[in-house]
């Protein structure tokens, strides 16, 4: 048949289109996780690379759960994980408290102003993350803008300690991740039919009642997506606790970094990563479910 070669060529194209990105992801995304798992089960040694091989000369599989045992028994790690959850959770709440009214305000602004307001939310996102965190260092210094202002106003006599505190970390996290909260919230609020709220008010609900009965439940998918989008990266954050936090404000991203770069304990760093990943599996799967649902709705 004359068409057969052509048909094969069309099939080939399909296979190439699937295979190229698929292979890339298998090699550069999935394989690394297998390797992390493997190395987390090795012992650290002073060598290059600094861990024991997975198989000995006779081909026997060597697995050591020492790193995990150490993680579980050493109080430092448990408290660091808990602190990370707490810090990320607090940052998420801060973002929600600030982000919800903002998203609401933008969604209900005149249509002509909406795109500009939204653009102004996204603009900082395009400007270097690192430099935006850095900007706060100048503000929160002992002799920085905030303290100078407060002293000039006579509210305080001596500079108060802002930098290197948990407070500084909250501010940094909230500042960096606020757009991640606002954008999904805006998307759901903007889609929402304003008539619904008016119908509720028409049926006798007060403005506040209408908000809690109508707006809030309908905005929930956006709230959940936004919270997860803030919480997940905040959990693993390294730069913000390093630059704004004190030496005691440990978060797990920083511990992982230090285990790896400072202590050169690769197996332990890998184990820290795997436990962090396990903690995040539930929120990540939840987020993907919400995003898939959003996609089905055609957004």
């Amino acid at each position: 048949m004359p068409g057969e070669n052509a048909l094969n060529r069309d099939q080939l194209w399909r296979h190439v289109a699937v295979a190229v990105p698929y292979l890339w992801l298998l090699v550069f995304f999935l394989a690394p996780f297998a390797i992390i798992l493997k190395i987390s089960l090795a012992d650290p040694v002073i060598a290059q690379p600094p861990f024991t091989p997975a198989f000995d000369e006779s081909g026997k599989f060597l697995a050591s759960v020492d790193s995990f045992r150490f993680l579980l028994t050493d109080r430092l790690y448990a408290t660091t994980y808990l602190r990370s959850i707490f810090m990320a959770g607090m940052a998420t709440l801060l973002c929600l408290a600030l982000g919800f009214p903002m998203a609401y305000g933008i969604a209900r602004a005149p249509a002509s102003a909406r795109s500009l307001l939204l653009l102004l939310i996204m603009l900082p996102f395009w400007i270097s993350f690192l430099l935006r965190v850095y900007a706060w260092m100048g503000l929160m210094n002992n002799y920085g803008v905030v303290n100078n202002l407060l002293m000039w106003l006579g509210l305080i006599e001596h500079p108060i300690q802002l930098m290197y505190t948990d407070f500084a970390i909250f501010v940094g996290l909230a500042y960096s991740y606020l757009p991640f909260m606002i954008l999904p919230l805006y998307a759901t609020l903007e889609r929402m039919d304003l008539d619904l709220v008016e119908a509720a008010q028409d049926l006798g609900a007060s403005r506040t009642r209408a908000f809690w009965d109508i707006t809030w439940p309908l905005a929930r998918p956006g709230v959940i997506a936004g919270c997860l989008l803030v919480f997940i990266p905040a959990m693993g954050e390294y730069v913000i606790p390093y630059l704004l936090g004190g030496p005691e404000s440990l978060m797990i991203g920083r511990v992982l970094w230090d285990e790896f770069f400072v202590n050169r304990d690769w197996p332990l760093a890998s184990a820290v990563a795997i436990v962090l990943l396990l903690l995040l599996v539930v929120p990540i799967v939840l987020l993907q479910r919400y995003q898939a649902r959003d996609k089905e709705a055609g957004i």
């Binding site: 690394p32 992390i36 209900r108 690192l130 430099l131 935006r132 997860l228 990563a273 996609k295 957004i299």
Partner: protein
């Protein structure tokens, strides 16, 4: 439209102030003559001059731009393919794993992505001798991997909102599948691909953590250089650098925004 309540208006004002005041102070202090960044010593542009005489900054910026350009381009090609596959190829064996792998890098904490990729490169080097040196190529691969996810999602959602019968019509009129992609699909998703490329470019320029893991000695990207400086505290030439970046991004975004408004009307 109902007027906003006072509460919503004040939160909006506070929120925008919160987002922009830090940037304003960085810009103001970049023109500060004093070496001590927190004390105002008069207007000056000396830090901009110093910045341009600093070879380290220029080298790092050049490396970052090269990486961003290369990785954004590869990511756009791979991400467009992936987006096409997800939106148009229906069910196939391994689709669930594929779509999972596409979206996961977006939500993966950077420390995990960075560490895992470094361990991969070390293992590959042991097994095959490549990569002999970590730097441009390893950072480019790492950036491509996570930014192709963003491109794929942008392209996929554009395709989902696009009428599939356009491609079917082209096929019905005698276009073979590959031809149809070039005749119909790509021209129509070009804006999404440009948006994806820009996002990938920015993400690459912005990344510190992953690059720090997968780079080798002697190759530092701009964020790595900045980080090594700001670790030690506020420094006036970084203020100047940040100002330049803010100006560049704002200008770019403004142009894109105006262009988009023009196109719509």
């Amino acid at each position: 439209m109902k007027p906003h309540s006072r509460f919503v208006l004040s939160v909006l004002a506070f929120g925008y102030a919160f987002l922009y005041i830090p940037l304003v102070f960085v810009i103001v202090y970049s023109f500060n003559d004093s070496r001590i960044a927190t004390i105002w010593g008069g207007f000056s542009t000396r830090w901009y001059g110093e910045l341009f005489r600093n070879d380290q900054v220029l080298d790092a910026a050049l490396l970052s731009l090269r990486i961003a350009f290369t990785s954004a381009t590869i990511a756009t090609i791979l991400g467009t393919m992936a987006g096409l596959v997800l939106a148009r190829f229906g069910r196939f064996k391994g689709r669930t794993l594929f779509s999972g792998m596409i979206t996961s890098p977006m939500v993966m904490p950077e420390v995990i992505t960075g560490l895992s990729l470094l361990l991969l490169f070390v293992t590959l080097q042991q097994l095959t001798g490549w990569p002999g040196q970590r730097g441009f190529s390893t950072i480019t691969i790492a950036h491509t991997t996570f930014s192709m996810a963003y491109v794929a999602v942008i392209v996929q959602s554009r395709l989902m909102s696009m009428d599939e019968s356009l491609e079917e019509a082209a096929m019905d009129l005698g276009g073979r599948p590959v031809r149809v992609v070039f005749d119909i699909t790509l021209p129509l998703i070009a804006p999404a691909m440009v948006a994806g490329w820009l996002l990938a470019f920015t993400l690459s320029l912005d990344d510190l953590v992953i690059a720090s893991f997968v780079s080798g000695p002697g190759s530092s990207t701009l964020p790595m250089y900045i980080f090594s400086k700001v670790k030690l505290g506020v420094s006036p030439d970084i203020n100047a650098l940040a100002t330049l970046l803010i100006a560049a991004v704002s200008l770019g975004v403004l142009i894109a925004w105006i262009a988009m408004r023009r196109m719509r009307t």
